[in-house]
Each structure stands twice: as structure tokens, then as C-alpha cells.
Homo-oligomer: 179 residues x 2
DNA sequence: GACTTTTATGTCGATAACGACATAAAATGG
DNA sequence: CCATTTTATGTCGTTATCGACATAAAAGTC
């Protein structure tokens, strides 16, 4: 059996929270909200949507204004499946496919200049990511009311920020020690 | 084009550091040292080893004691390719395929009991992982000399510990707030 | 020394992933 | 209003992944 299927459940979650969403908008979610936790391209999403309609997890209607746009809605069956999935315990930690650590691991000489280069690049990437995350936090949660209304979303965004900031601080510490 | 190929480079790194390693031992590395940063099963590794021998990245010899065991060595070509790969900049952060965050994200009600259940499970997993990592740190780096000899390895292990501890602290904080 | 279990390697089938390519409707622009 | 560009959806080919199955040598057992 191949890897466990996750994508259809994520799509269920997206459609459940935003009825009448289009395929294009679902794809866009993976570049913004969901993007920090999962990636998917439109060439995965469109065939998946088709399968999910076939399986009666979703229904679809065509836009009256735009003949090629399709709106998706979750069915009762789909909602059941989503609820069951959300309630199922997560039984393993995510595997970090971390090229940075991997390359560091293979460079045995502590004075190899490539170490400092790797750290510099990684620091830049993390800094960029942190800026982006903080920007989003300001945009999505401008006040306490917004936090209360989407508390879970707030939690995971705060967690991502905390994690990224932690890694940055740690990298800085290492970089300073190498000087 | 499908996803970028990483596995052969990891294998190059492993064989480079441990000449005369067997396929079984390479597989074992993914359950211990490398396991925190990459996963691969033997059914990926053996065909890959074959390809790499065909491509002259590795050479292989058969054990005199055990007819079915094969020893692998990196070739000059393989070493060049490995060095080039190690020097190449990592241009993107790892995507965290994080089911925990994903499920949280889809549960909008802050009082949904599944939130606390998710947090409890995640805490247990992280705690288990942290214990394991600290155990490894004690085993692999019993003294400063060991740290100096494999400084990079020490770095990434320390980083994993720091990250895991950070996430745990953060989860505990959230859990306390929900009470 | 025949039998069973374990070890090390190898193979296969189903499907996930993803970039490249394709298409037709809608929007744009002169 | 015709030509061009953009948008939204869809398709395809190649490769990655991984559990299940297979096999033959080695080790263990009585």
C-alpha cells in the first residue's frame, strides 16, 4: 500500500469552511493559509475534486456568470468523513525532510567553510519566513475579536512563529560560536 | 518533472563516511542517525544502490564469509558528486506536513473537546521524541572530545532537541490556557 | 543432519507527486 | 470587434514512495 492519503481530507476541511468555493480558490489556500502545513498543486487538486464528487463527498454547481467556474459544496457524507478524520488521533510526528540538517550531518570537519555558508543561507530563509508569518498574523488577527473567532488558526500561526523564531535564535547562537 | 531526487545523495554521504557498509546497515541508518531528517525503506534503498553501482557512483564487493552480503564503497566520481551536492545552497525551507496543525486549523470552535485531545496526543508524542533524542545525545556524545570529532552531528542533534523542547513548552502553555 | 527461524537482499503493484503541456472561456486593449 | 492575454480547469508522463510479497543463504534448534 502506498502512503496514506491526506489531500482529500484537507480539501473537505477547506470546502466545509468555505462553501461555494472554486477549485482555483482551493488551490490558492495552499499558497496562503494551509501553505505552512501542506503543499499541493492544482494538478493534484483538480483530479482529486473530480474523484470526491464521484464519491459523493462533494457536490458541484457551475457558475451562472462564468461558464468554466465550478462551485463546490460538502455533502452530509463528506461532513461525516471530515468529522471522523478530525477526531482521529494523530499517531505520529511529522517527518522533517530537512536538507539543511542532512548536509550539515555529512560535513564532518567543523572548520569546513560550507558550514557557515549553509547557516547563512538557512538564516536568510528563516528570516524571510518569519517576516511573512508575522505579516500574516497582523493581517488575519488585527484585534482580539478576530483571535476569538478563529482561535485554532491563531494557535497554529503563533506556533509557527514561535518555532521559526526559536530556530533563528539557535542558528544565530551557533553562527556566533563559529566566529 | 517529478520531485527532486535526494535519496542517492544521502546514500553517497552515508557510504562516504562508512566505507564497506552493507545495504542492511545503510537501511538501519535511516532508523537511527538520519531518521530525524529523512525516511527511506529498504525497498527504496536496494534498487537505488543498484542504480548507483550501474552509474559508477559506488562499487560493490561480496563478503567472503557471507555470500549474500554486499559491501559498498564510494568511487571518485561519487565523491565528486557528493561534494558538489554538499556545497550547493539549500534554497528552500522544509515543508512541514503537519497533521496536528492541519486538524487544529479546521476545528473552528475553541471549546471543541477534540482540541484538547489533539494537544494531549501531540504532547505525548513530542515528550517521547524528546526523551529519545536526549538519550541519543548522551550515548553519542558522552564527552567533549566526541563533540569536537563530530561537531556537525552534535549541532543538528542539539537543534532537534531545542526545537522539540520549544514545541513542548509552547503546547503546555496552550493547554494551561484552555483550562 | 533435517527442520525452523532469522537475516539480507531483491521485486512488484498501486498510487502520490508534480512539472509540463493543453484548452476554452473571459477579460483586456487598441 | 478583432487580436491578445489572462484565467480556470483539465490532462499526461515520469518518477517517488512504500507496504506486501519473494528468495536464498545463514544461523539456530532438537
Amino acid at each position: 500500500m502506498p502512503k496514506r492519503r491526506i489531500l482529500p481530507f484537507i480539501i473537505l476541511g477547506i470546502v466545509s469552511n468555505r462553501p461555494q468555493i472554486t477549485g482555483r480558490e482551493i488551490t490558492a489556500e495552499f499558497s496562503t493559509e494551509i501553505g505552512d502545513f501542506w503543499k499541493a498543486s492544482h494538478s493534484q487538486i483538480y483530479p482529486e475534486l473530480r474523484r470526491m464528487v464521484d464519491d459523493q463527498w462533494l457536490t458541484t454547481t457551475t457558475s451562472p456568470q462564468n461558464a468554466k467556474e465550478k462551485y463546490y459544496l460538502i455533502t452530509a457524507t463528506g461532513q461525516e468523513i471530515l468529522d471522523e478524520w478530525l477526531g482521529r488521533a494523530v499517531d505520529e510526528l511529522p517527518i522533517h525532510q530537512d536538507l539543511f540538517s542532512l548536509k550539515l550531518f555529512f560535513i564532518k570537519d567543523p572548520f569546513d567553510p560550507r558550514i557557515r555558508q549553509l547557516i547563512a543561507t538557512q538564516t536568510a530563509l528563516l528570516q524571510q519566513s518569519l517576516t511573512h508569518l508575522r505579516q500574516r498574523q497582523r493581517t488575519v488577527f488585527p484585534d482580539d475579536q478576530a483571535i476569538t473567532r478563529h482561535y485554532s488558526h491563531y494557535l497554529i500561526l503563533a506556533r509557527a512563529i514561535s518555532r521559526t523564531a526559536g530556530q533563528l535564535a539557535w542558528l544565530k547562537n551557533v553562527g556566533d560560536n563559529l566566529k
